[in-house]
Amino acid sequence: MLLAIDTSAGTSVAVVDLTQGVIAERGVADTMRHAEVVGRLIQECLTEARIPVSALSGVVGGMGPGPFTGLRVGIAAARVFALGIGRPLVPVVSHDAIAYGHYRTGHTGPLLVVTDARRREVYWSAYSGADAQHLPVRLGAPSLAKPADLLEADFVHAGLPRLDAATISAGDLGMVAELAYAAGRPFAADEALYLRSPDVTVSKNGPKRVS
C-alpha cells in the first residue's frame, strides 16, 4: 500500500494498493494553495483508507515536470513523510500518471501529454502506448517548449493525439508506482523536474552607477 502525493499542477493525494486499486483520493485543483492543503489532504486520505501509516510500504512523489514553487511542496512532503515513517520514497514522473489514466479509460496507441509550464510555455511528454502491464511507454524525457513549437510540422512528435491536462491524479500516480514495482521496472530519478534554470543572471558589469 502506498501514499501518493503530486503538486505538479494542483494538489492531489491518494492511498493506493496493487490489488485494491485506489483506496482513497483527495484533490484541490487550485494551483496556488499547495502548502495550505497538502497536510490536510494527506490526513484525510489516511483516515478514509482506515490505515495506520505503518501499513504503507512507501511514499510516491510526483517529480513533475511542474512549475517550481508548487512542485517543491509535494516533493518535500513526500520525501519527509517517507523519512518520518521509515519507508522509501518512490519517485514517479507526473506525466506518466496522466498517460496511465488516459490509457486506463480507453485510449490506445501514441499520445502527447501537455501541461502548463506558465510563462507562456508548456511541458510535454510523448508516449507510444501502454504495455502489457498497462504502464505507459514514454518516448524520452519530459520536455519544455513554446506552445507554437508543438504545432510545427517538423515537431518530432507532430500529429500525435494530444491530451492537454490541467490536473494530475495521485491515484493514477500511485498505481503507476504499484504496477512498475510489480513488473520489476525502475522508478524515476529522485530529482525535481523543473526543466528550467532559476531565472537569474550574473551581472558582468559590476554595480550600476548612481550618479
Binding site: 497538502v38 514553487t69 517543491r72 518535500a76 519527509v80 518520518g84 520514497l89
Partner: protein, 536 residues
C-alpha cells in the same frame, strides 16, 4: 555542544594538518597530499567548528567521489579529543554519504585500522559491511586494515523486502489508536526554518538545545551578489532530508520520540517558506504529532531562551524587553511584553534591510558576497569618522512619523556616489575608511533608535538577534551605549542569532509549555506575517 559544518578550503589545510598530525601520529598524510585532496573537485572535504569560532576546526572528513562514478571512497575522518563522544563523527559520515549519493555513487568504501573497534562500530552502525582485510596496511605500526563497503541505494529506490507491499488484510482504523497526550512540561520539539537561504533544523527539549543543524545555500548566491529566491528554495528541497537526518543524529533521539513539530510560516521568501511548511505538515501527519506554525521574527527572540553549551547566562529573559532584529531580510524593533502572547512591532526598515545594505556596499567596493564579514574585515584599518555618511530617518522631520523605523537605501546610494566621485576624479578610494564609516553609520542609527525605544518606553532591557549581530562593531557599540544608558543587554550565541531551526523549535516549545493549542493543518506560507501574530 553544537557544531557547524562547511566545505573545507585551502585556508583550512593548516588547521586540518594540525589535527591530522596529532591524531595519526605515525601515518599522517603530508600537507601536500591534504592540500591536493581539499582542492580537488572530485573530492569533498568538510570541517566542523563551534558556531562561534569558525576558525577553530575540531574535526574534518573527506570523500573522494567523481561525478557520476558509481564508486566512492571515504578518504579520512578525524575528530579532536575535545569533540569526541557526541555524535560528530556520525554527522560527518552522514554528510559524506549524502554527498556521495548526490554525485551518483552507488557504493562507498573505506579502510579502518583493525585496532580501532570504536570506529568500526560507528561504520557498521551506518550500514557498512566488512569486505576484507589488508595485512599490514598501516605502516610503520604494521596494523591490518579492515576494508568496508556501504551500498548506497540508487536514486531510483527499490522497495526493500521488509517494506514490500503487505497483503490485503483488514487493518484497524488509524483513529482507533488513542492519541498520545502532548507532553506540555518538557516537550521534545523539532523546528524547521526555511524563510531565507538557510535550511535550519533544530531540536530542543523544553529550553534545552539538543541540535542546531544549518545547511546554507549562501555559496550558491555568492555569484549573484545576493540571495536569489528560486536558488534558495531549490536548495531547501535538496537539503531538507539530509538536515533532518543530521539534526536527529546529533540530538541522539529517534524521530518517533518527537512530541511536536514547529515551523516558520512567515515572514520570509514565499517560495522558500513553502518548502518548510510542506515538509513540516507531512512530518507532523507521518508522526501523528501536533504542529505549531510560528513567526520567524519572534523565533529570533525565542532563541534567547535556549540553554546549552555556548550560552553564557542562566538568567531568565525578563519582560518587557525591546528586541532589535537585524539580518539580510529584516531590520525590526520589537516590544516584547510576553514571548507567546504579546509582541508589538515598534518599527522596521522602510526599504533595504541592514544586511542587504552591507551586501550592496560591499559590491560597490568590489568586495565579495556576503558583504557583512567583508566590510568588517576591511573596516578594521579604516576610520569610522573619516566620512560622515547620512543616518536614515534621523532628521527632526522624519522622527515624528518614523521614530523607530529604519532606512538604508539612501545610505547605500550616498556611499556609491561618494565612491564614484572619487573614482571620476582619478583619486584612490580609501576602501577601509569607506567601509568603517559606512558601518559606523549603520551601527549608529540601529543603536540610537534601539536605545531611544528603551528610554522612551521605560524598558531597561535590549535583546539583539539576526545574522548581522555577528558584526563585532555592532556588538561593541551596543555594549557601550546600553551600559551608558543603564540598559541590560542580551545577545544569544551567534549560532542562534543567524536563521536557524532551534529558535523555531524553542518558540514552539514555549507555546506548548504555555498551554497554547496547536495550529490547524490549514495554514500557508505568509511572506508578510505581522510580528504581532506569534502563531499562525
Amino acid at each position: 555542544m553544537t557544531w557547524q559544518l562547511r566545505r573545507a578550503t585551502a585556508a583550512d589545510v593548516d588547521a586540518i594538518m594540525a589535527l591530522e598530525t596529532s591524531i595519526f601520529e605515525n601515518d599522517a598524510w603530508s600537507t601536500e597530499m591534504m592540500a591536493r585532496d581539499v582542492a580537488d573537485p572530485g573530492c569533498y572535504y568538510l570541517v566542523a567548528f563551534p558556531p562561534d569560532s569558525p576558525d577553530h576546526i575540531v574535526a574534518y572528513a573527506g570523500l573522494q567521489a567523481a561525478q557520476r562514478s558509481p564508486e566512492s571512497d571515504i578518504q579520512t575522518i578525524a575528530v579532536a579529543e575535545e569533540a569526541r563522544g557526541r555524535g560528530l563523527g556520525r554527522v560527518l559520515m552522514l554528510s559524506l554519504i549524502t554527498e556521495a549519493r548526490k554525485r551518483g555513487a552507488r557504493e562507498t568504501f573505506l579502510e579502518v585500522r583493525a585496532d580501532n573497534p570504536g570506529a568500526q562500530h560507528l561504520y557498521r552502525s551506518l550500514g557498512f559491511e566488512d569486505l576484507g582485510v589488508r595485512r599490514g596496511y598501516y605502516q610503520p605500526d604494521n596494523v591490518d586494515a579492515i576494508v568496508m563497503r556501504l551500498p548506497i541505494p540508487p536514486a531510483e529506490m527499490q522497495f526493500t523486502d521488509a517494506a514490500a507491499p503487505p497483503a490485503a488484510e483488514p487493518i484497524p482504523a488509524a483513529s482507533a489508536a488513542p492519541a498520545r497526550p502532548l507532553n506540555r512540561a518538557n516537550p521534545l520539539v523539532l523546528g524547521i526554518e526555511t524563510s531565507c537561504d538557510e535550511t535550519g533544523i533544530g531540536i530542543v527539549r523544553g529550553t534545552t538545545l539538543l541540535s542546531n543543524t544549518i545547511a546554507s545555500s549562501m555559496d550558491e548566491h555568492a555569484r549573484y551578489g545576493g540571495v536569489v529566491p528560486e536558488v534558495a528554495a531549490r536548495a531547501h528541497l535538496e537539503e531538507m532530508v539530509p538536515a533532518i537526518h543530521a539534526a536527529v543524529a546529533e540530538a541522539g533521539i529517534r524521530l518517533d520520540e518527537i512530541d511536536a513539530i514547529a515551523v516558520t510560516s512567515g515572514p520570509g521568501l514565499a517560495g522558500a517558506l513553502m518548502v518548510g511548511v510542506g515538509a513540516a505538515k507531512a512530518l507532523a501527519v507521518a508522526l501523528d504529532v501536533p504542529i505549531y506554525a510560528v513567526n520567524h521574527l519572534v523565533g529570533h527572540v525565542g532563541a534567547d531562551l535556549l540553554r546549552g553549551e555556548g550560552v553564557t547566562t542562566d538568567a531568565p529573559l525578563e519582560y518587557p524587553t525591546i528586541a532589535l532584529l537585524v539580518s539580510g531580510g529584516h531590520t525590526s524593533l520589537l516590544l516584547v511584553r510576553d514571548l507567546v502572547s504579546d509582541v508589538e512591532l515598534l518599527g522596521e526598515t522602510i526599504d533595504d534591510a541592514a544586511g542587504e545594505a552591507f551586501d550592496k556596499v560591499a559590491r560597490v567596493l568590489g568586495l565579495p558576497y556576503p558583504g557583512g564579514p567583508q566590510i568588517d574585515r576591511v573596516a578594521a584599518t579604516g576610520s569610522p569618522t573619516a566620512i560622515r555618511f547620512p543616518r536614515g530617518l534621523s532628521h527632526q522631520k522624519d522622527v515624528a512619523k518614523h521614530r523607530y523605523d529604519f532606512s538604508f537605501s539612501g545610505l547605500k546610494t550616498s556611499v556609491a556616489r561618494w565612491v564614484e566621485q572619487k573614482g571620476d576624479a582619478g583619486e584612490t578610494v580609501p576602501i577601509d575608511d569607506v567601509a568603517a564609516s559606512f558601518r559606523e553609520a549603520v551601527v549608529d542609527v540601529l543603536l540610537t533608535k534601539a536605545v531611544a525605544a528603551c528610554t522612551d518606553l521605560g524598558v531597561p532591557r535590549l535583546l539583539l538577534g539576526g545574522g548581522v549581530i555577528a558584526n563585532a562593531r555592532l556588538r561593541q557599540v551596543a555594549q557601550e551605549r546600553t551600559d551608558a544608558a543603564g540598559i541590560a543587554l542580551r545577545i544569544p550565541p551567534l549560532s542562534l542569532c543567524t536563521d536557524n531551526g532551534a529558535m523555531i523549535a524553542a518558540l514552539g516549545a514555549q507555546l506548548i509549555m504555555a498551554g497554547h493549542e496547536p495550529s490547524t493543518l490549514d495554514f500557508g506560507a505568509d511572506s508578510t506575517l505581522p510580528v504581532s501574530q506569534i502563531q499562525a
